[in-house]
Point group: C2
Amino acid sequence: MEIDAILDRFHLLPPHSKAALKAHISEVQYPKGQTIIRAGRAEKTLYFIQSGIVRAYSDGERGDVTFWFGQEGDVVISMKSYVSGQPGYEHIETLEPCQLYQMKAQDLESLFTTDIHIANWGRKLIGQEMIKTEERLISMQFKTAQERYLDLMSATPGLLQRVQLCHIASFLGITQVSLSRIRAEIR
Amino acid sequence: MEIDAILDRFHLLPPHSKAALKAHISEVQYPKGQTIIRAGRAEKTLYFIQSGIVRAYSDGERGDVTFWFGQEGDVVISMKSYVSGQPGYEHIETLEPCQLYQMKAQDLESLFTTDIHIANWGRKLIGQEMIKTEERLISMQFKTAQERYLDLMSATPGLLQRVQLCHIASFLGITQVSLSRIRAEIR
DNA sequence: CTTCTTATTTATCATTTGTAAAATTTTTTC
DNA sequence: GAAAAAATTTTACAAATGATAAATAAGAAG
């Protein structure tokens, strides 16, 4: 997905503002298995995914927990760093070779203070992420694991071919054994 | 909590911008049990809580599900309406008599397009809500119901005296029976 | 193609959580 | 303060999920 289309996903920008944004964006490529954002530090870079797939996860007592998958067109940020400049709690790693657009958080931060269109673009960006997160929270609260699996299947069917089932299970909040049972039941 | 302190929670505003915001804010009082935001419509008003407590919930197959409590100093909005102008999926009702500050979403929307400080204030506001939601999502995914209950107890101990246990149970993603079992175990 | 490694499924049993109904406690109303 | 209503807890049983280990399948390396 090209950078123009990605930027337009959140909020249409006047040409001048869009150019100002793009002036700070460059391309970068990472192999599979690369950690691009680490928990415990204030991340200085944010990314947009041109191609490839990534996952965000946190360390828990019972192993790591995947709570987000990013695909073509998605924004990759440490939310806490982006919002508050504080160290974040998530690791983000590539699950495939990834072609990314990158931007320094500091550059975006200064654009926010000087360009009102970009400030509103940033507001919309986080708003859209917020809606998705809230919808997932609600589905975790009042859907069964099987319903959540079926939802994921219909929302992003390709994901299952590209991501290991242990990550899918973790994302759904269940063990891999439970996921296998659900898959067996549906067949 | 006074309106100045509430507005300052998100981002410090220059006096002129703060005054512009406050010019659109008025006070309103609702009795207990009043629904102030309804699912399925684009909500035109947002609120800040001076005193009282509210809950946000969605209708599910197995009854309604509480996914947020708002207390003194919190913002009350239909996220989807605030972000996209689309109809939201949550109801919000007062659980106590509430003293609220209210503002028309349309007024805020126009301030966003004319005052860059307010645009950034709105960006920070949603960012802080985002962090909270993400933290809750992660805790739903990798903590047990008992851990989530203990977390809630230590984070907002007063809540338990003010809110019915059926809402707490729903918020934790468990049944009221399970919550009773957890409470019995801890005692 | 065969071997080695990794990923996934299956099986078994223990634990947790849900459902439904009854019992108890607390709150409200008169 | 007694009666009624509402909220909470308890009980008994069913269903779902977790933990562990073994079996199978799929993929990578030579």
